[in-house]
Amino acid sequence: MTSFFLYVALGLCLIMVLSIYRVLFGPTTLDRLIGVNAIGSKTVILLLLIGFLYGRVDMFVDIALAYGLLNFVAVIAAARYFHKRKGLYEESFMD
């Protein structure tokens, strides 16, 4: 069962690499924000799997919970920061 958890964690890392494409090449800033949000929600699961691999779930579940909170606050703050920037994306979106 431990090796299965290891393979699931590796697959999760590969899926995160797919999401990094949108963070690197996103046409607008909010596209990059979507990619960051997706990677953060995968990291919560990855932390729980690492906890099972090390046999210390009681410690890693708190870290996963704190990371989920932190990811949510970061995305909300960044989205509110780019709230009223009229015309910031127009040129970058056209091409």
Binding site: L18, A38, V75, I76
Partner: protein, 107 residues
């Protein structure tokens, strides 16, 4: 018991993969939010539920408490992910981002 855990984890992994492909290949910012908002929530729900079932292999007070904390993560993610998606859409609408149409793709 292990079969349920493996099925739930593979289910969640499949939905994470579908969400990542959707984020990569959708044509527009607004349509990219659709796989990002929904599939990640469902996959998180399935995978955390599978890990919580695996954690309850031997039932003591400690493992029950850890599984309750995992369901707290699920509760928080199902509350926070739609809120974050809504905030991103609101920022895009107020910034005047135009949505994708078929005509723009041809021209």
């Amino acid at each position: 018991m292990n079969i349920i855990v493996i099925a739930l984890l593979v289910f969640g992994l499949f939905f994470f993969l579908a969400g990542a492909i959707g984020i990569m290949r959708m044509p527009d910012f607004y349509s990219r939010l659709h796989p990002a908002g929904k599939l990640d929530t469902l996959a998180t729900l399935a995978m955390v539920m599978g890990l919580a079932v695996y954690n309850l292999n031997q039932i003591t007070l400690g493992t029950i408490l850890i599984s309750l904390k995992m369901f707290l993560i699920v509760f928080f993610v199902s509350l926070a992910s739609p809120t974050a998606t809504h905030t991103i859409v609101d920022a895009g609408m107020r910034a005047g981002l135009r949505h994708w149409t078929k005509k723009k793709q041809r021209g």
